[in-house]
Amino acid sequence: MTELPKARIATASLAGCFGCHMAILDIDERLIELMKLVEVDRSPLTDIKRFTKRCDIGIIEGGCCNEENVHVLHDFRRNCDILISIGQCAIMGGLPAMRNAIMHSDAPLRECLEEAYITGRYIRNTTHDIPNDPALPLLLDEVYPCSDVVEIDYQIPGCAPTGDIIFETLAKLLTGKFRGFEREMIKFD
């Protein structure tokens, strides 16, 4: 039996909590099965920081809250054939998008930063500064779901999605059998 060339996969965590990456590891022993089919390129799991080759599948956790997120997402879109949003933050903005709710303000971003670093009730910040190291990426005016910034091919819902649904979806995509989710898999109540 000739071996099929392995698919290349890349992953990234943008404005997320890494919970979705933990969920990827939750595939448990099936990881071994999966690794027969794929090779992992750029990913926090391999600590490879740049694409070494064009990838078949890119998996994105988290939405875009700063310019670096946008940059990474653009990079993924350019280098991956299929792009998958995984988890609510990537799909809808998720928890970080709570700051989008500061609406009736002339300067919502400033208000957000001030509350987070200066005026918040439980803040002990003796310098009264908002962090502003040149190495810090600039924040966006709002938190955007990935699909606002680039075209996304598939979305795996959940917070975080279960290991099962991640495995099933990837396995089916890799074998060309993906036809949408079973209702039971995306039912959360």
Binding site: E68, V70, R77, A107, N132, P134, L140, D141
Partner: protein, 600 residues
């Protein structure tokens, strides 16, 4: 408190109580709410529930003179902006504010039913029409000098009869009088014949005429009456829906001014048919200027033995009508919401079934019909079912009042038999160059020139009466966005898909208008609209996506022209530069990644 006592501390008259409170104190304070709650035996929160629901009731002090500018799309196109500016400049307040001395409030309100003489405004109970920057300025200056609002209409306003007062304020613009309603109408002929018939005969006559409800939904009137009549209950009610809130509709306004006797005659006939002793005319808050006229007509009818005990000398035929004033809520035009409102509750629709004909007002069988429907019924009793049945087309019998406004030479009321094409109508109103016609108001259908051959019937283009004409200079998406904002404002908030979904739809349209939409957003609009329609419990949610759905269908290029395709699958609609601009200013530095000339 005396206001409560006027209404016998009846909790079902809560809306009247609060309207009187609003009138006297210019707001409904927490203290007053407690008093009202105590008097009527309710909790304060129930009173607040009503006070916060209606837009004409206020929980902050309003000016002694409250000016409400109608900001319907037709008024906007007729020069609302300059009018608003004139008021703002003279009164020294912005729209939405109350002056510091408590003299004036200035605010916007959705359609007040004066689209044929836009821009219009309500000054307390007085209506000003056909405003221009100059007339607005002089009105504002006069008000500031202490003139009472009614004197703006006529120097000797108080000496005029109620009918003269109403018609001095508002032109009725009857452009085409048809055979049924606006032509010559003999007095009480229908009622005279009805007293000679049994209730069943009356219902059969109305059924045979093919009369269908004229408020928009088009339910067969005779069947409605039959259902109510067949209920065994100790009381039955007849309610008249004069809450025509659909933007662009003003036909009932004309009937209420010119044919009030015919309306009450029709209600009395309905009462005889279903055995009701009490009736309510639910008059929209915007038509408060007609209250005096209508109260006068009711009093006259009581005097003449046409209302009250033993009507026309028929023993046991008792019926009387009270007027329930609304308070600026579109949703109260919905049957269930109207009943809630009459019961002194927030105007929220009721779950159906039970239908009002089975259990309506206070739990009793209730017939709710539109003003025009009752007028038709009275005429049918006079002239007979066949006369009415012969007019119009199969399935849509009789005539229909159409209120035409927008970009046309002759806006106003046209009474026409069902079955005319839009072309024919446009010819009459004087605008054959129209680019788009909104039939049935925002919850109806927006059609383009290629559909002007369609007919105004229940089966083709159904309408409650509103026909709004738009010329080629108008921006369809602007119109759609306005209509969506209208529904966002008027949703009662009970069903989440309607409360939240309409906001999302409005935002999506804004995205289109800004050129920030993707091709997929068209799909999104359709999907979300479908969800709202399927999961809302009343007609508002079931029709609120119509401005979008019908324009998507009839003006697809308007949408696709505004979409931007992606480049290399990266969204051209996401603008990183504007997204990081705030942060650049706060951090006082430029971007390493996206400012290309950055060097350090």
């Amino acid at each position: 408190m005396e206001i409560c006592e006027t209404y016998a501390n009846d909790r079902h008259r809560m809306l009247d109580i609060l309207l009187d409170v609003q009138d006297r104190f210019r707001w409904i304070s927490p203290k007053v709410m407690e008093t009202v709650a105590r008097q009527t035996g309710l909790s304060r929160i129930e009173v607040e529930g009503v006070a916060s629901f209606y837009s004409f009731l206020s929980q902050t002090p309003k000016g002694r003179v409250t000016i409400r500018l109608c900001n319907d799309i037709v008024d906007r196109y007729a020069g609302l902006e300059e009018v608003a500016k004139a008021f703002e400049e003279v009164l020294g307040i912005k729209v939405g504010q109350t002056s510091n001395d408590g003299a004036f409030s200035l605010e916007y309100t959705p359609c007040i039913g004066m689209c044929d003489q836009a821009p219009a405004a309500m000054v307390n109970d007085v209506v000003l029409t056909k405003l221009t920057a100059e007339t607005a300025r002089s009105a504002a200056e006069a008000l500031k000098a202490g003139t009472s609002p009614s004197k703006l209409v006529n120097e000797r306003f108080d000496d005029l009869t109620a009918h003269e007062q109403a018609t001095r304020m508002v032109d009725n613009n009857i452009r085409h009088a048809g055979e049924v309603l606006l032509g010559p109408v003999p007095e009480e002929a229908g009622l005279g014949k009805a007293v000679g018939l049994t209730p069943t005969q009356i219902i059969t006559t109305v059924e045979n005429s093919g009369l269908r409800g004229c408020g928009g939904a088009g339910f067969t009137t005779g069947r409605k009456w039959r259902f109510a009549a067949s209920e065994k209950a100790e009381k039955t009610f007849v309610l008249c829906n004069a809450d025509e809130g659909e933007p662009g509709t003003f036909k009932d306004r004309v009937l209420l001014t010119e044919r009030p006797h015919l309306l009450f005659e029709g209600m009395t006939i309905a009462a005889r048919a279903v055995g009701a002793k009490e009736g309510i005319l639910y008059l929209r808050g915007e038509y408060v200027y007609l209250r005096k006229l209508l109260e006068g007509v009711l009093a006259e009818r009581r005097r003449r033995g046409l209302l009250g005990k033993d009507i026309l000398g028929v023993a046991g035929f008792d019926f009387d009508i009270r007027i329930q004033l609304g308070a600026g809520a579109y949703i109260c035009g919905e049957e269930g919401a109207l009943i809630s409102s009459c019961e002194g509750l927030p105007g929220e629709p009721k779950t159906r079934p039970p239908f009002p004909v089975n259990r309506g007002y206070l739990g009793y069988p209730t017939v709710v019909n539109n003003v025009e429907t009752f007028c038709h019924a009275a005429r049918i009793l006079d002239r007979g079912a066949e006369w009415f049945h012969a007019m119009g087309t199969e399935g849509s019998h009789g005539t229909k009042l159409l209120s035409v406004c927008g970009d046309c030479l002759n806006p106003g009321i046209y009474e026409l038999p069902y079955g005319h094409t839009v072309w024919e109508l446009l010819e009459m109103v004087g605008d054959e160059d129209a680019a788009a016609v909104q039939v049935g108001g925002p919850s109806g259908t927006m059609i383009a020139r290629d559909s002007f051959h369609r007919r105004l019937t229940f089966d083709d283009l159904a309408t409650g009466g509103a026909v709004i004409v738009f010329s080629g200079e108008r921006n369809i998406l602007e119109i759609v966005e306005y209509y969506m904002s209208f529904f966002v404002h008027e949703s009662c908030g009970y069903c989440t898909p309607c409360r939240v979904g309409n906001v999302f739809l409005q935002k999506a349209i804004q995205k289109f208008r800004k050129g920030l939409a993707n091709a997929e957003d068209i799909e999104y609009l359709k999907e979300l609209s479908g969800t709202i329609i399927e999961t809302s419990r009343c007609g508002l949610g079931m029709t609120s996506p119509n401005p979008i759905l019908t324009t998507l269908k009839n003006f697809p290029l308007v949408y696709s022209a505004m979409t931007k395709p992606s480049k290399d699958r990266i969204r051209a609609t996401f603008d990183i530069q504007s997204a990081i601009d705030d942060a650049r200013r706060i951090a006082k530095r430029r971007s390493y990644i996206f400012d290309k000339d950055f060097s350090q």
